[in-house]
């Protein structure tokens, strides 16, 4: 499929979906799914292709260029697939709510603009799609009203700040190199000084960092992810923030070139170390903060911030193994995090909007498929072997260890161990333990929710056992960046200092499991017991709330909580208050007394004349 046609299909499809919604709601839902199916098929058909297309020759005298190459391909495909899953998931989810046409329109617009971003071949089209994505996201985040309004506000203000900084960076690149087309910039940037490159990198880091939510630019993410409608939270967490990751890779590997990036500036104080440091902090702090959360979506949101830190570490480290790890982690995270948001969304849908972990429990009996999906998602998040998160994290750890950065590796590993704690909390509080009485009549998730969840769960497992599939594409993109590709096969990676071989692990685990299951079957048959038929130290089991979930990790959490203030958030809030106060102060200039106003005019005149008398400007 041609790139222009692809974009026309998705953007036209979004608008058409909106208009069709005025006629028939069902037809609209089907069309939305069809549009994304077409997009997925179209992108898939572009596999392995590298080509460019001119979208428009002169927008303000700049050509708008589209291009496809393996690196953009994997992002575009992930976007289309996760978007498709989220739209299918919306089928039932959104029906109860108002403004459904608007929801579908914005959802498709966000997805379309993201596809546009990854396919753009110059900074101007990149920026245009980027901004369309920003404002449509803003509208969708605010969709749930009440708390969501503040969340949307936080998002858009930071987003506008970020994109303005990017605009400055990009125009500055233009003045330096005379073009906005990526290839041209790369060609002409050789002569740029190291100081200038660092300046540009920092500008773009701010822009991409806000979207990617690296500390301390992350503050918009937790409220936005938790307040957005759940299908959109999947998109937000699964792919939208990864557009920032895309930007980082594009900038460091596609434009500045990694050899230049790694050797830039002072040996200790340089942009690479800054980014690595921020990546480490981004892993550590949000992981611990996630431990303290009692709202399912907010917990996942903080987890998303933390996981983004891994990608930053991988990308900024600058070896081909670390880039593979970072990119693969993007891909994996898109799958399992959107899956987890769907799981939480399904529970929220069936329980009429309950997200408070402490008031749920025992839902495994009512929603087994959702539970299984949640378990697989959480395993992927932790990186339990045989799920996809394992391989990507392994690559990141491995490159950090063999390249002599044990402290970064330590932070990354420790983050994973924190992940275990909050992941188990999520699963335990929602699905395990006692089923409260009020949920005894709960129905399982509707088919429209099960289908994407099952699909994504399968994907998490398949790519966990066969990491070679995505790694192959990533290798192609690394070759495109002029790097040494990783030695891979279908089952794993072979490096000089340690290999990973999923075939052995998978066989061992499956065979071991089967043997032990047979062994288990050999014992006496067991009887089923009800949840009220439990051991309670001799006392009768109280019905309904015989559950240990409030303050689940209490001694630990109350120990660490004092150190986990979100200082960045407090800082921005204080800044906003300060600006408001300054504004209120300045408004006093306009006193309402016309005498003062006349005085201002005279004073202005006087000052201008005074300037001449003193400095002789004329």
């Amino acid at each position: 499929m041609k790139l222009e046609i692809l974009l026309a299909v998705v953007f036209g499809g979004s608008l058409l979906t909106y208009l069709l919604g005025k006629i028939s709601k069902r037809a609209r839902d089907i069309l939305a799914i069809l549009v994304l199916l077409a997009a997925t098929a179209g992108i898939a058909s572009l596999y392995g292709r590298s080509s460019t297309a001119i979208l428009c020759t002169g927008f303000l005298d700049f050509p708008l260029v589209l291009r496809i190459h393996p690196f953009a391909w994997i992002f575009a495909l992930t976007i289309a697939v996760v978007g498709l899953c989220a739209v299918i998931f919306s089928w039932h989810y959104i029906r109860k709510k108002g403004r459904t046409d608007f929801f579908y329109f914005m959802m498709l617009l966000v997805i379309s603009s993201m596809i546009g971003i990854v396919l753009s071949g110059d900074f101007l089209s990149f920026y245009i799609f980027w901004e369309i994505m920003s404002w449509s996201t803003f509208l969708l985040i605010s969709y749930n009203r009440e708390e969501a309004i503040a969340a949307g506000m936080k998002y858009i203000v930071m987003s506008v700040a970020g994109s303005l900084v990017m605009l400055v960076g990009m125009i500055s690149l233009y003045t330096q190199t005379g073009t906005l087309v990526f290839e041209g910039i790369t060609r002409n940037l050789n002569s740029a000084s190291s100081g200038y490159l660092q300046f540009i990198l920092i500008l773009f880091f701010v822009a991409f960092g806000i979207k990617n939510a690296i500390w301390p630019l992350h503050v918009w993410l937790p409220p936005a992810h938790s307040e957005a409608p759940s299908p959109f939270s999947s998109v937000l967490s699964g792919i939208l923030i990864k557009i920032g990751t895309f930007g980082f890779i594009l900038l460091i590997y596609g434009i500045v070139q990694v050899q230049v990036f790694v050797n830039l500036g002072h040996a200790l104080f340089n942009v690479r170390n800054l980014l690595l440091l921020l990546g480490a902090v981004t892993i550590l702090l949000p992981t611990f903060i996630a431990l303290l959360q009692d709202d399912a979506k907010r917990l996942l949101a903080w987890s998303t911030v933390a996981q983004a830190g891994y990608m930053i570490l991988g990308i900024a480290y600058g070896t081909s193994e670390s880039l593979s790890g970072g990119t693969l982690h993007f891909f994996n995270h898109a799958l399992f995090k959107s899956l987890l948001f769907m799981v939480v969304g399904a529970v929220e849908f069936r329980t009429n909007g309950v997200r408070d972990l402490n008031s749920l429990g025992g839902l495994i009996k009512k929603m087994p498929v959702t539970f299984a999906a949640g378990l697989i998602g959480v395993c992927g998040l932790i990186g339990v072997p045989l799920t996809n998160g394992f391989v990507s994290k392994w690559l990141i750890y491995h490159t950090l260890i063999v390249n002599h950065s044990p402290f970064l590796a330590f932070v990354a590993l420790l983050g994973t161990w924190g992940t275990i704690l909050y992941s188990y909390k999520l699963i335990h509080h929602i699905f395990l333990g006692q089923l409260p009485r009020k949920y005894e009549q709960l129905n399982a998730a509707p088919v429209s929710m099960k289908v994407p969840m099952i699909f994504l769960s399968l994907a998490v497992v398949v790519f966990g056992v066969l990491p070679g599939l995505p790694l192959h594409v990533i290798n192609l993109s690394e070759i495109g960046f002029g790097m040494e590709p990783l030695a891979i096969n279908m089952w794993g990676v072979v490096t000089g200092s340690g290999t990973i071989q999923m075939l052995n692990i998978a066989t061992a685990l499956t065979l071991g499991g089967i043997v032990l299951w047979l062994f288990f079957r050999m014992g006496r048959k067991n009887t089923r017991a009800d949840q009220l038929d439990n051991y309670a130290a001799g006392a009768p089991v109280p019905a309904d709330r015989y559950q240990y979930s409030v303050k689940f990790y209490d001694p630990l959490t109350s120990m660490i909580a004092p150190y986990l203030k979100d200082t960045a958030d407090n800082f921005y809030s204080a800044l906003a208050r300060g600006i408001r106060n300054v504004g209120n102060g300045i408004r006093r200039i306009y006193t309402g007394d016309v005498g003062n106003y006349v005085m201002y005019i005279i004073l202005f005149l006087a000052i201008l004349i005074f300037i001449q008398l003193y400095w002789k400007v004329w």
Binding site: W417, I505, A529, S549
Partner: protein, 299 residues
Amino acid sequence: MVIVLVLQILFVTLLSCLVGLFLIGLSRKMTARIHWRYGPPLSQPFIDIVKWFSQTAVSHGKLFDAGMIFSLTGSVVVVLFLPFGGICPLRGSGGLLVILYLMLIAPLGIALSAGEAANPYASIGVSRKLQLAFGYELSLLMILLSLMTYYRTVSIVDIVEAQIQSGWSLVQLPLVVSGLAYLLIMPAIMGIRPFEMIQAPQEISSGPMAEYGGKFLAFATLQHALNIYIGLSLFVNLFLGGGSNAGYFLIKLLLAFMVFQVIHAVWPRFRIEQAVRCLWRWPALLAFIGLIIVWVTTS
């Protein structure tokens, strides 16, 4: 080739189960003797396993069963990744990092299974287990990283071979601080006193085990046995030079176990917050210093 591999796998699995169960029996015997009691016979754990298997058990659901199997599978697979003397069936599959991750499966399985039991005692036990793990992993991760940095590999087999050539890690100068830290956290890794609050029979009715009976208890005990073996084996392989053959390796294992057993017999139990504080203070500090020393000396 394949037959050798299968035989190795069977040998290592069975022997590690036997060793683990034997160590449980030994532990009870030693504790009893230190407490001036006679204690059960060394064969008692084996007898228990057979007995439990023939009893009717109570199950709380599919996950209750599956979690247990999952957990034991995890432990068995970890065993296959650890060198047993000169034998390591799955040497080329990812090394220490994979072991670290596979070691997650066992507690995760138990946690899921215990969660399905819908018993707060079980949940409390799991919560404590995870907190404790978070406590000692802080140090353990740094210790493992200092090893991996020092030997420049992530493969445990390579580490053992390097030690056979140049002596135990515990007595290598840059690694000695890390080794000390490891000694301090070993009781926590093995779940023995003073870090026994996960089970705490008198307090939370054996925690995660509260709802287990019959073959579930048998599986849980096997898993516990393997867990003890894994903890010790990791320590022996990483710091005591592993073993050039199985016998030598087992002797080291036994000696290390008896040292920690003495502590287990005479110490009281920490509360969970005391445990985490304790683990985050001295062992973590030592491990951190160890990592810095290794980092500086190797760069």
